[in-house]
């Protein structure tokens, strides 16, 4: 047999990771919609849809805090595996090859490829920025004016970065890479998928399972 056995299911994300991810996704979604409603008067209709500006002003920061906490939990779980190795660095310089599906030109990836790792770090950074600036904006009475002024620009700026990268993430997880959603919904991938997208991880899995 030249092809991996399609009957084999390789576990990719355990239940803990999946729950965390979707909690992050939902809270992010809510914070984004409410944030966008307050970002521009043109989008304020969304506030009305979600219970009115006064209500979403109250909920947005709490949901934001929830998002940040979940992000923290995920970071604890994944941070080690998100370090870039030598292959990743080469991968990053050849990212355009990835976009154009020239996989032959790319070094092999581990459990996460360099793009996913960069997304992780980008999300972590923007979350931190959103959390800190958001906290400042939450309590304007108690915060020094200089910090508030900084935050009033930093918060939307970080949000723009975060939303943009999440858009890419959503595209990659759905249309661009078929079957990846299965990993986050059901927790496993098929060997062929693993071999193709994450060869080093697949190899390690094989080695440990003496397939």
């Amino acid at each position: 047999m030249t092809n991996p056995n399609p009957e084999i299911r390789i576990p990719r994300f355990d239940a803990y990771e999946r729950v965390m991810h979707w909690m992050a996704a939902l809270s992010f979604f809510y914070a984004t919609l409410t944030g966008l409603a307050l970002w521009s008067p043109k989008l304020y209709w969304m506030a009305t849809m979600m219970g009115g500006g006064y209500h979403i002003r109250g909920s947005h920061p709490w949901v934001g805090v929830g998002f940040a906490v979940v992000m923290g939990v995920m970071a604890r779980r994944w941070a080690n595996g998100m370090r870039l190795d030598a292959d990743d660095r080469i991968w990053l310089t050849r990212m355009h090859k990835y976009a154009t599906h020239d996989h032959a030109a790319l070094p092999p990836s581990g459990r996460f490829n360099a793009g996913q790792k960069m997304l992780f770090w980008a999300q972590l950074a923007t979350t931190l920025a959103l959390f800190v600036s958001g906290f400042v904006l939450w309590f304007p009475e108690w915060m020094p004016r200089s910090l508030r002024l900084l935050s009033i620009a930093a918060h939307p700026l970080a949000a723009i970065g975060s939303i943009t990268s999440i858009l890419v993430h959503v595209y990659m997880g759905t249309a661009a890479v078929p079957h990846s959603m299965r990993a986050m919904l059901r927790g496993y991938v098929l060997p062929e998928w693993a071999r193709f997208h994450h060869p080093k991880w697949y190899k390690a899995w094989r080695a440990s399972h003496h397939v």
Binding site: M1, P4, P140, I152, I160, A176, W193, R195
Partner: protein
């Protein structure tokens, strides 16, 4: 017609009658303060205290002076609170130049506090809504002057048509200059498009002595957020969405069948 308040600081005696009138007319709850080392009623404006006389002891060239000036919303032509406010209809510029807060529309985010270059609005701790001087819009609407103006015993405060008040202020400045105050002038900062609260100052080049900011402008971060960043965000959003879409249209999904990796360790068992 744009209306305004003129505060002739040379006639202010710090009697605080305007503070009480403001509290009374607006049915504010009185709160007893703690001592702050000054004659000032409160260190700063509060959600239920919209009109504060600032007391500043200034020592210059060996001479002591005690400058008093009324502090409240400046009703800017180009209002920073309005620029920063995310809730449509919460801050309303009236036709007469008043910047009015409509509390049923206020969402309590406090951005107006940050947007205001004069640091005027305040959040009520329980309702989390922002409050400030309304220029007594409920009085001016029926042809009355604001409560503070009505009560001022020394004619330090005048209410009326803005252009007329500017002329009065110029006359008064002229008088002061003739009396030897070469630095006398009008405080009507252009950085916020001029204000509908005008001051006559003896030391116009140093408004800080009176507790007034020297060159107030809408903070650049607020302008950045409300201007370029809005465009940038929109561009980036649609750029990414469209980019992804066309990427898919051009390249389609990644397919191990088509895009197999040559160095891939295949399962040769």
């Amino acid at each position: 017609m744009i209306v305004a308040k003129l505060i002739d600081t040379t006639l202010c005696i710090g009697c605080k009658a305007c503070e009480v009138a403001c509290q009374e007319w607006n049915d504010q709850e009185y709160t007893m303060g703690t001592f702050d080392g000054s004659y000032q009623t409160k260190p700063e404006l509060e959600a239920n205290f919209w009109n504060l006389i600032k007391f500043n002891e200034v020592e210059k060239d060996g001479a002591t002076s005690w400058l008093m000036s009324k502090y409240q919303c400046m009703h800017c032509a180009d209002a920073g609170c309005l620029a920063a406010c995310p809730a449509p209809g919460a801050i309303v510029p009236l036709a007469n130049g008043t910047i009015d807060f409509v509390h049923e529309n206020c969402i309590g985010c406090g951005y107006c506090i940050t947007g205001c270059p004069f640091d005027v609005p305040r959040l009520n701790a329980t309702t989390k809504k922002a409050y400030k001087c309304t220029l007594c819009s409920d009085r001016t609407a029926v042809g009355l002057e604001p409560a503070c103006i009505k009560t001022c015993p020394t004619n330090c405060l005048t209410f009326g048509e803005r252009d007329e008040l500017l002329r009065m202020a110029e006359t008064r400045t002229g008088e002061l200059k003739a009396d030897g105050f070469a630095d006398a002038g009008i405080y009507n900062p252009q950085g916020v498009g001029g204000t509908n609260v005008l001051y006559v100052l003896k030391h116009a080049s140093e408004p800080e002595q009176y507790g007034l900011p020297k060159d107030p402008v809408i903070p650049w971060t607020v302008s950045l957020w409300k201007g370029p960043m809005k465009w940038m965000g929109t561009l980036m959003f649609w750029g990414t969405v469209l980019g992804a879409f066309f990427h898919f249209v051009i390249y389609g999904p990644q397919d191990p069948e088509k895009h197999g990796h040559p160095e891939e360790p295949s399962d040769k068992s």
